[in-house]
Amino acid sequence: MQAVDLSHEDIHTYLARHQRKELLRFLTCGSVDDGKSTLIGRLLHDTKMIYEDQLAAVKRDSEKVGTTGAGEIDLALLTDGLRAEREQGITIDVAYRYFSTDRRKFIIADTPGHEQYTRNMATGASTCQLAIILIDARHGVQTQTRRHSFIVSLLGIRHVVVAINKMDLVGFSQEVFERIKDDYTGFVAKLGLPDITFIPMSALKGDNVASRSDAMPWFSGPPLLDHLETVHIASDHNLTDLRFPVQFVIRPNLDFRGFAGTVASGILRKGDEVTVLPSGKRSKVKSIVTQDGELEEAFAPQAVTVTLTDEVDVSRGDMLVHPDNLPHISSQIEAMVVWMAEQSLVPGRTYTLKQTTRQVTAEVAAFRHGVEVNTLEQRPVARLELNEVGHVQLSLTQPLVCDPYRTNPATGAFILIDRLTNNTVGAGMILESGGRDAWGAQPAPLLKLRESLITNTEREQRFGHTPVTVLLVGLTGSGKSRIAFALERRLWDEGRAATVLYGQNMRQGLNRDLGFTADDRSENLRRSAEVAKLMNDAGLIAIAAFVAPHEAVREKAKQVIGTDRVIEVFCTAPMDVLRSRDQSGAYHLADQGKIAQMPGVTATFEEPKSPDLVLQTDQINVDESVNRIIQMMKEKGQLR
């Protein structure tokens, strides 16, 4: 700051300009001696952030302890508040530094030390939009370069600058630069980093840092500072998926009930329909309140207070979303975890998991694999040690309302807290609900289907029926289960071989790993359809009773079984009848928000478009329902 030049404009113009700056947060990563401190010192110095008294102190110290030789200022000393600590063996982590130019304010997350590197880097990277990866031009791409790049991609940083430093020590050679660039491009391809910029520089001498280098006329790109000032970050924010985690309920008087929070992503508008998750309650945005006046809309990362038109129950940890754009709700998540504690991550131990404003208890259900940070190799693991990274499956005591980190870092990130020490021990990034959607999955190659030696005709002759699947669908309380078991009894009594596939029974065995999210319901039905198919293949009549709320999923199930082998029966009754029949209390619990995504209450139920039979179960009894099904099967020639 020793020489901000105000001679060309007055202070008011200056202020007006500086009030419109953007903020860019970036991370510097490099191995020891790549020149990271020198680069940061250079940026601070060249943007006039250093006061004369500070600079004088550094000049003095340069002569005493500097590494730069006579006459040259060791700019690394400007940021070396931490070097002393390193010597004292104190945990070194992230140091934050600030500078600004006319266009942007910058926050540097500086992560020194390499023992705790993974942990520190992940911490620093978590808030950054850009990463500078330093490479010493003399040494080229190193193991550490790979590690840095992996962590950068793991934490979802979209903009990377590869700073090829110490170009003065390789004669400012274009060839060296191009070779390192090719090397880097080669290995980084699989990380899928979307925006990579290479800049040859000398942090020590200032070439291509704040100003273009005369020594490297062959380089036509902008110097680092220009790039930092102009790199396009506006579109990094997710403006599509509204996620508003409620932080605090403001209730100054009986007439005002405001839900305060930070918009995590998307745009919230006055008048919008919103769904409160996990309860699934609906309401409308009445107003978006701030002390500076009401807003028509709010977007990330604005901190606002929302009021709703209805008296719905909303508290801290809930999330407001648009009804047509729902996040995942699951108590089983797949995630990449960076482990940060001496005591290793092991299955069976419970941790507190904090995501958005929600806290749940979590434990590892399975280790999928570990990732070797230096080579990116995957290997089987049974635990995660300090500074290791791995893909795990976590089981939670309550469902999380979340998105994959890749599409929405604000709702896809979590920390794990040790329940005894209270320490933050892990950082997690939720993955796509991987593998859940198995409908379209291809079987492994080289598998052959073997035909049974018994033909379908032989089976039909023995059992006296065509093996079909009676698919009974309908909401809880619609009577489908009672009809299913009565039908099974009737068929049995008539000498047929039939069996019920009952949703709740399936969930206690084959499907015990599934919950009640749309994804899990879908998978529940897929597996059941596969079982029905096996039974039909064996010649049995399968009676399947499922809520199966989605038409598309039912269609897929029919295709698995064989469309011509399925009889779709829709069991239905008015809602008040359904509720009055419900013995398990599911509707009541759903009303209270204790069951998430209950079809007919807080999740949609799509009525079958063209069922083979509709049973209005408030008008006919179970026997009559069974009669009608049997009659239809006879008409179709399925029962002889």
């Binding site: 600030y98 911490t123 605090f248 100054p252 930070t262």
Partner: protein
């Protein structure tokens, strides 16, 4: 420059981040308090807190640790502002220190600050059993603060253990403490001095008039201008108060706070002076000069 309509300026981003932190602490702790030092950073922090809970009131009280040696203008400002805004202000002075008449003249700045500020603060925190205390400190203030957490963990003696700080990722703060332990929360961590001044200007936040230049009685002592704020000021032989146009860049106990000569009477003028300044802010704060690395030391002992 921000062009798109869905792009916030850096000050708006900082504001939102601070509000998020303040709400998070208020939601997760049982008995939070906001340390109110009456300075410009406190003014900004308090302003942000009011925004965070608007139209509601602050869900926590303010605490001022009064050493009894603050500038009179600070105390006047404090009382008027808190009354006007209807704020719940707790004032604490170390009773033993007061009984022993601890003062900067007889006991030196270090001992005075230790007893009347550091010890007093701990007494107050224990007395009210606060488990989280907001402070207005910024990371850009000093080299050793650069790595300070937003939630700075303190053991049951209010001590800061550098080896026992938690990693902070994203905006997911870990507010778990055992009984007796506490945190200091720093919502202004990512603000710079320039940000603070710009924000005060932009939001017209009231600040103590001592920040603006005026003619005031001062003496020159050890190369620093000290204001003669009341008749407790002990003049050394030969010292003669003189009227000078001065202002303060930081505020504290008046016998320990250096003034700078200045003509800046408006916020833009203050900012202009700051931009042209050749030396860093803390020079006006005498407690830092007592011994090297003193901030670090103070922090461990429990004063920030």
């Amino acid at each position: 420059m921000s062009s798109s309509r869905y792009n916030l300026t850096h000050l708006k981003v900082l504001e939102a981040e601070s509000i998020h932190i303040i709400r998070e602490v208020a939601a997760e702790f049982e008995r939070p308090v906001m340390l109110y030092s009456i300075g410009k950073d406190s003014a900004v922090m308090l302003h942000l807190a009011q925004k965070a809970f608007y139209p509601g009131r602050l869900p926590f009280p303010l605490l001022h640790v009064d050493t009894t040696w603050k500038f009179r203008a600070m105390i006047e400002f404090r009382d008027r502002f808190c009354r006007e805004q209807g704020l719940d202000l707790k004032i604490w002075t170390n009773p033993e220190g007061k009984a022993q008449n601890i003062n900067p003249f007889d006991h030196g700045s270090k001992k005075h600050t230790d007893i009347m500020k550091t010890v007093a603060l701990k007494q107050a925190l224990n007395h009210y059993q606060f488990d989280a205390a907001f402070g207005g400190a910024r990371r850009d203030e000093e080299k050793s603060r650069a790595k300070e957490r937003v939630y700075s963990f303190r053991d049951n003696l209010h001590q800061w253990d550098p080896k026992n700080q938690r990693p902070e990722l994203w905006n997911l703060f870990n507010g778990k403490v055992n009984k007796g332990e506490s945190i200091r929360a720093f919502p202004l961590s990512n603000w710079t001095e320039l940000d603070v001044w710009q924000y005060i200007h932009l939001e017209s936040i009231p600040i103590v008039p001592l920040y603006f230049a005026d003619v005031r009685p001062v003496v020159e002592r050890d190369g620093t201008l000290i204001m003669v704020d009341d008749d407790r000021m002990r003049l050394r032989p030969g010292e003669q108060p003189m009227m000078k146009r001065v202002r303060f860049r930081t505020l504290g106990c008046y016998p320990l706070t250096g003034a700078v000569e200045s003509n800046a009477t408006t916020l833009p003028e203050i900012i202009e002076e700051m931009l042209l300044a050749k030396n860093s802010e803390r020079q006006g704060r005498m407690i830092d000069h007592d011994e090297t690395g003193s901030m670090e030391q103070k922090k461990r002992e429990g004063y920030f």
